[in-house]
Amino acid sequence: MALLTIRDALNQALREEIIRDENVFIMGEEVAEYDGAYKVTRGLWKEFGDKRVVDTPITELGFAALGVGAAMAGLRPVIEFMTFNFSILASDQIINHAAKMLYMSGGEFKVPIVFRGPNGSAFQVSSQHSQALEAFYANFPGLKVVMPSTAADAKGLLKSAIRDDNPVIFMEQERMYGMKGEVPEDDDFTIPLGVADIKREGKDCTIVARSMTVPMALEAAEKIQQEFDVSVEVIDPRTIKPLDIDTIVSSIKKTNRLVIAEESHSFASVGAEITYQVMDHAFDHLDAPIKRISTVEAPMPYARNLEAAALPSVDKIIAAVKEVCYI
């Protein structure tokens, strides 16, 4: 095991996959000479050169499209969006092209591509730079959506995403790049897509969290344990699509209570989908209505106090757990 930041774990995954498969290349804004806007690709251009690590013009639709075409023609591109906010410019290629290519070609053309970068809010970067877009992409059949919350998951899942034959939306979180965790040192360490992880075992209430809300949920769980002697289980689906609903349902069968914590807006969110699926599979096991903590239904404000009020927080999660546990 090595203690790594999420940033370095991602970097290792990229490096190992570049070495492992000559068709893997990384393309995006500032990924090469600048070492990445958030330094995820640090050192890779120096080590592997212009062919494998490619700086692009600011032309998201263009290089996403180039990636789709290259993937159809046999390469395995990893396309970095400086942030997922800018993927919206490229969403035509992701949704209209990559997601549907295999299906509408009757299985002829696979699109083995990864679109990755930070998703969600950062530190007061305001309305156009703070969006959590997982529900948007998860809505379209043909796309897989991955959101790691630890260094080990980041590495293992990114390697699987690169090896996957489908277009994968791989969402990181800027606030989390510096968080550290133990990562297995094996070169071939991968984590399969579509498998949830129980981040903390508990018996009284389940929190389903992803990305930035996982560390929040863990902190909330710890506080609740100490203050109220309530034991909280924290589940991280890790892959949003396909969703490992079985792990969530088994947990609910044990705890009978569910809180969902997510960074995206609430309307038509992944949390809404989980709520439906839980109702479908475990309605009779619920002892309380499901509670959900999301970002408020407003674009992200800049002001420090308003941004904090807009986002999920440990306190908000604690309040929700108390509500479903009737304490």
């Binding site: 050169g49 032309t59 800018f86 305001s126 002001a303 308003l306 009020a309």
Partner: protein
């Protein structure tokens, strides 16, 4: 004539992908060093006639132009200082070095003309009439900010002053600006639109889509490409197949000019020609204004992609210094006047800081207001 500066710089052959280890990060400083020499040579040629022109220009206007440039500089130097103290959060993109572009072009407008720009928007906001207090308070994320603390550095707006904002998505405002000009033509309001964007935004599809529509439908707009030669850490020649941006307009049969962005009077002249074309003939223009940003891309950019010599070389042609030099040679103002103007700008900045410090944080009820009209 100034076109030579643009063409002479495109010497570097396009780099083709190679499996080999890349050479050390090539700053291609030579290309940019050559351009600055050429721009200076052109400047020296026109200087004499420009000084004659300055003598004939309204003194009050000249004073205001210089004041706005100095205010922009002093204000942003202060913003950088308080950013480092943690008073300002998020991204903060400074305009230092580029002041001549906003002042030269915007001060040729009528008050009801419209302006839109990118996230590098503090100086444009102030030149358009938003008080320095309201801009600084916005940087602080306070209630007294021009958009109540909701937008921050990248998103200054003012309906009253026809300032249509600072925009964070590279290239987005090029399309929005085109729509503003469309509305002006539709309403026959006589307003002209100035639309600012960086040279890296030219690589977005929306630049090309917008120019085509603007020429096709004859819209009264001036597209001002602020070519500071870098988009974050990527120099223009590493991201664009041609160095000559002004010429791109020709594929849409649009009028265009290459302008020395360190020479505020040259920017003003070019803007006046373009504004006249927009106002009288309802025709668009693309101006490529060559300049240089002294600071990092944003406050968090270490700037390892260029050399100190290159920055120093461009600073030799500092727009404020050049302008003061001409004003002095033309005997319009003296060093004493310059000092008075500087003091005024320092005073205005001090007041802006005091206002921002004292302004309260926005009330939490603001969180859910303005989501829908």
């Amino acid at each position: 004539m100034a076109r030579t500066a643009a063409t002479a710089s495109s010497k570097k052959s396009p780099s083709k992908p190679s499996a080999k280890k890349p050479a050390k990060a090539e700053s291609n400083g030579n290309g940019r060093m050559a351009v600055v020499e050429l721009m200076n040579a052109e400047y020296q040629k026109r200087r004499k006639s420009q000084i004659e022109a300055i003598k004939k220009t309204d003194k009050k206007l000249l004073r205001e132009m210089l004041y706005q440039m100095v205010l922009g500089r002093v204000f942003e130097e202060k913003a950088a200082e308080v950013y480092r103290m943690g008073k300002i959060g998020g991204f903060c993109h400074l305009y230092i070095g580029q002041e001549a572009i906003a002042i030269g072009s915007m001060m040729a407008l009528n008050p009801d003309d419209m302006v839109i720009t990118s996230y590098r928007d503090h100086v444009q906001a102030m030149v358009k009439g938003i008080a320095p207090e309201a801009v600084m308070a916005e940087l602080y994320g306070k209630e007294g900010g021009c958009v109540k603390g909701k937008g921050g550095s990248m998103h200054m707006f003012s309906k009253e002053h026809e300032f249509f904002g600072g925009h964070g998505i590279v290239g987005g405002q090029i399309g929005v600006g085109t729509g503003m000009a469309y509305a002006a033509k539709y309403k026959e309001s006589g307003q002209v639109t100035l639309c600012f964007f960086g040279e890296a935004a030219v690589n977005q599809g929306i630049f090309h889509e917008s120019l085509n529509m603007a020429q096709l439908w004859k819209l009264p707009i001036i597209y001002i490409c602020e070519n500071n030669q870098y988009g974050m850490g990527t120099s223009q020649e590493r991201a664009m197949s041609t160095r000559n941006i002004a010429k791109k307009a020709e594929s849409y049969e649009m009028a265009n000019e290459f302008v020395d962005g360190m020479d505020v009077m040259a920017v003003r002249d070019a803007a006046l020609r373009a504004i006249k074309r927009a106002r009288e003939e309802s025709l668009p223009t693309l101006l490529e204004v060559r300049s240089y940003r002294y600071m990092g891309h944003s406050m968090s950019d270490p700037g390892n992609y260029r050399t100190r010599e290159e920055i120093a070389k461009y600073q030799e042609r500092d727009p404020i210094v050049l302008f003061q030099d001409s004003l002095k040679t033309a005997k319009v103002f003296t060093d004493k006047d310059f000092e008075a103007i500087r003091q005024e700008a320092i005073e205005a900045t001090k007041k802006a800081i005091e206002f921002a410090e004292e302004s309260p944080y926005p009330s939490e009820s603001e969180l859910l207001s303005d989501v829908y009209a």
